[in-house]
Amino acid sequence: MPIFDQGYQHWNGQTSGHAWRWFTIARQGVRSALKGRLMRIALLAAWSPAIALAAMLCVWGLLERGSTVIASIRPMLEFLYPQLIADPKHFRVVVWTLSYDYFTIVEMQISMILILLVGPNLISQDLRFNALPLYLSRPMRRIDYFLGKLGVIVGFLAMIVVLPATAAWVLGLLFSLDISLIHDTFRLLVGSIAWGLAVSVSAGLLVLAMSSLTRNSRYVALIWLGLWFISWVTSTAMTDINRNRQRNRIRTDQFRAYQEENSTVAPKTPDEMRQEIRRRQNVRQQGYLHMQQLQSDVWEATKTDWRPMISYTTNLTRLEQQFLGTQPAWETVASFLPPEQQGAYLMRMSGPQYPWIWSAELLAGLSVVSIGVLQLRIRSLDRLR
């Protein structure tokens, strides 16, 4: 028997209202996830693209100001087109947009890894240990539970997308010391935050729905990997097959033009030689026009090609392009190239071209399905057993 045994003591402290109850669940989820060493390493790794983004924006700010501080690192910027370096202020939006584009694309892949580490446990473990009666018998609603669990995903993605994007923007602003930068690049700040939230909500709802389907979080992780990799591999394969078919068409047409050009017998008289030269020039000209037309057709076809949509992450990328406005930036960079290379460059660099609203609708549809699954799987206690 202890000498000093207080036994049970009453408690008269204050309790908060229930409006922020979801936050308690989210905070506990983040805290619990951060206990894992792998998670902490992944989080640290996730910040490296943010450091690169911040560094790029700061360097560009100094470049705009013609600062001598960066004279020593100028040679390292030679990977950029000389036109950009020559007038950094004029191409500010282009460089900032493409920097944010690279940042978000890398962070999207890292987000998928973080969700893989955090998401599967969120609901499946509660189902396994029958925690729902403990949650629902406290002053909270089912929606608070869902929001709390979603808040864990939003919290982590905010840490690696929204906060770094905002911090980099502020740093870039400070280094450029030009107030017009706010006007020029504000869309990027809003766009990256909006995209971060869109990814959080879409991927968060999806992984929560998957997590509610089984009590074994390993299965959830496998389903998530399947959604991520298999959809990407399928989409890439189908898109490439389609593009190869189009390229083969171009090559066939080129071969036909070559055959036509070389199909006649050798000219014998000067008149015949002149006629033959004119004919060949004409054939070449027509072949060139035909190729340009075909390139243009391929480019146009990408604008209605639905195959990239099979990949979940490509849909997020398409949304990102729209939110950040990357297409004009890529077109500006493409304009530095000879005209015949511009189409291929844009096709290679600027990503999927189908209407962004398709991706928005698909992601919204997936979210609705996820909410439906959650409604079915996480039932209230209004049942017999």
Partner: protein, 302 residues
């Protein structure tokens, strides 16, 4: 009044779980009894505002169960019947988190978690992961998480299920202490009548979603005015026949006779009969009911 129901009906499809249930329970320790499917769990869920009722009205701690569910759950502590845990947590984290879910600050929750874990006897195991706890420890952990915010009403649903005798005694002792010495009202649902008897002062017996009986245990078990238990030395069967001729109702229980004398007569009749029969009465006391009898009688009547 701790809680009251007025014509409460709750159905699940064709099954009526609560059938025009009307009752009121005073403050104190209340045992909730009833056979399987009698509506105990539905009643508890209705009390907590976890399920919408089809008809009727009710109040818990003066709060309407239809409109003030969240406030009710803030003032009530509940330990469910099933084994349930917040996963991947140490004991102290578990209880603090339970407090935070009620609205306590992190600091208060943690401080209070240490206090209640000491109280329920889990002080030594507070930093162990709760998945590694034994069944008895998990029950005490649930109890700790139910009282972390110092509720006015504590609802324990089958708290001694699956426990060994020592663990069961500890939980009963804690429940009794909370209800009798700490001023916390208790609704104790159990199939085990000795457990209810050990902890509670009042009982509510449900059957088929209806109230079968309710009242103070001491009153319901009070001595029968006309009933006696007796044992005689020489010929118990002959003595029983003699009493029957005098208008008594007789039945046997173990080695004793349970005798109910006619209205208007008392134990003097028994002494007179023994004298007439040349018999020695070796044991005589007024018949007292048991909780089991009270329960069975209520269930059989309905």
């Amino acid at each position: 009044m701790l809680f009251q129901f007025e014509d409460v009906t709750k159905t699940y499809g064709a099954i009526t779980a609560l059938d025009n249930l009307s009752l009121s329970a005073p403050e104190g320790a209340i045992g909730l009894l009833g056979p399987n499917g009698s509506g105990k769990t539905t009643m508890i869920r209705s009390l907590l505002g976890l399920i919408p009722i089809d008809h009727g009205s009710g109040q818990v701690l003066g709060l309407d169960i239809r409109t003030r569910q969240l406030e009710i759950r803030r003032q009530v502590g509940f330990a469910p019947e099933d084994e349930c845990l917040f996963p991947n947590m140490e004991g102290v984290e578990f209880v603090a988190y339970a407090g935070e879910l009620v609205g306590m600050s992190r600091k208060d929750g943690m401080q209070r978690a240490h206090e209640v874990l000491d109280y329920v006897g889990l002080g030594e195991a507070r930093y162990r992961r709760c998945e590694t706890y034994s069944t008895g420890m998990k029950q005490r952990l649930k109890l700790a998480s139910a009282i972390v915010h110092d509720p006015k009403l504590l609802i324990l649903d089958e708290p001694t299920n699956g426990m060994d005798p020592a663990g069961r005694d500890e939980v009963l002792e804690l429940s009794r202490d909370l209800a009798h010495n700490k001023g916390m009202s208790l609704l104790f649902s159990s199939h085990l009548l000795p457990d209810v008897e050990a902890v509670c002062e009042h009982i509510i017996v449900l059957g088929g979603g209806k109230l079968l009986t309710q009242g103070k245990i001491a009153e319901m078990k009070q001595a029968h005015r006309l009933g006696f238990e007796l044992r005689v030395k020489i010929d118990q069967a002959a003595f029983a026949e003699k009493l029957k001729t005098l208008g008594c109702t007789i039945r046997t229980k173990d080695d004793r006779l349970i005798v109910e004398v006619p209205e208007g007569r008392g134990q003097q009749l028994l002494w007179q009969a023994a004298a007439d029969q040349q018999e020695q009465i070796r044991f005589l006391r007024p018949q007292r009911g048991t909780l089991e009898e009270v329960f069975l009688s209520a269930v059989e009547k309905n």
